[in-house]
């Protein structure tokens, strides 16, 4: 599966557009991490636990998007965008979307 933030694939023609595909995941942080984050809020610095958590969640959202694209018969997802929103206190939604296409 070819994934890209560009609207085209260099050197390849788009044979067919299959429309928007999307994947999302809602994640919550756990108490242990929250405790550490609370401490870090005093001292400052990077929250490695959160960085990893968000990275993994985004991979999952991307994975779901790719699954949807495969189900539609696409071999590439172009123009991918990410978006993050906090739906409730302590939970965040990570959303990935793009255009599923068939490349020659």
């Amino acid at each position: 599966m070819h994934v890209s933030t560009l609207e085209y694939a260099p050197g390849k023609k788009i044979k067919k557009h299959l429309g928007l595909v999307q994947g999302s995941t809602v994640r919550s942080k756990h108490v242990g991490r929250d405790l550490m984050a609370g401490l870090k809020n005093i001292f400052g610095g990077e929250l490695k636990g959160y960085t990893e958590l968000l990275h993994d969640s985004r991979e999952e959202a991307m994975g779901r998007m790719v699954e949807q694209a495969q189900a539609a018969g696409a071999n590439a997802v172009l123009n991918i965008r990410f978006s993050t929103s906090s739906v409730a206190q302590g939970a965040a939604e990570l959303y990935a979307y793009g255009t599923a296409v068939v490349l020659e």
């Binding site: 984050a37 001292f43 400052g44 610095g45 991918i80």
Partner: protein, 149 residues
């Protein structure tokens, strides 16, 4: 009285460790930016390419950085008179540059020489008491071009 002492201790701790962390972070950012200068990250959508066409691969980098007690206190004071909140400006600057660096490091590992269509997204992932900013997340992502050998 006890409250005041706790407050002052937290403020001093935040000031000391926060400044130290920021100083060290900026040093590491400048060093790595120098090293990764040969790999530009550009916001251009339309990339020129030669023949044969390059391989493309999506790359991303993210970072979550927390404010410290001192920064939050200063920002709270700023809220009264208004104006630039310098303490948060450096926080966001650090986060953005770090995210871009991580993205470039991923590109470098793939053998890429340029990253196109870079997008940067910022979100405040955890809000502390009274909706104050607790930490910010920055995600930078783009498409790395890898020349065929």
């Amino acid at each position: 009285m006890a409250d005041l002492i706790v407050f002052l201790v937290l403020l001093a701790l935040g000031y000391g460790t926060g400044r130290y962390a920021e100083h060290r972070h900026y040093k590491s950012i400048l060093e790595r930016e120098d090293k990764l200068r040969p790999i530009p990250a550009v916001a251009t959508k339309l990339a020129p390419w030669g023949d044969p066409a390059p391989e493309t691969q999506m790359v991303a980098g993210n970072v979550v950085i927390s404010v410290d007690y001192f920064k939050r206190f200063v920002a709270g004071l700023r809220n009264i008179v208004g104006g630039r909140v310098m303490t948060y400006e450096t926080l966001l600057d650090r986060a953005r540059r770090e995210a871009i660096l991580r993205m470039k490091e991923e590109a470098k590992a793939l053998g890429s020489h340029i990253v196109f269509n870079v997008k940067i997204e910022t979100s405040s992932i955890s809000k502390g008491r009274k909706n104050a900013v607790g930490s910010v997340e920055v995600l930078a992502y783009g498409t790395a071009f890898i020349n065929p050998r």
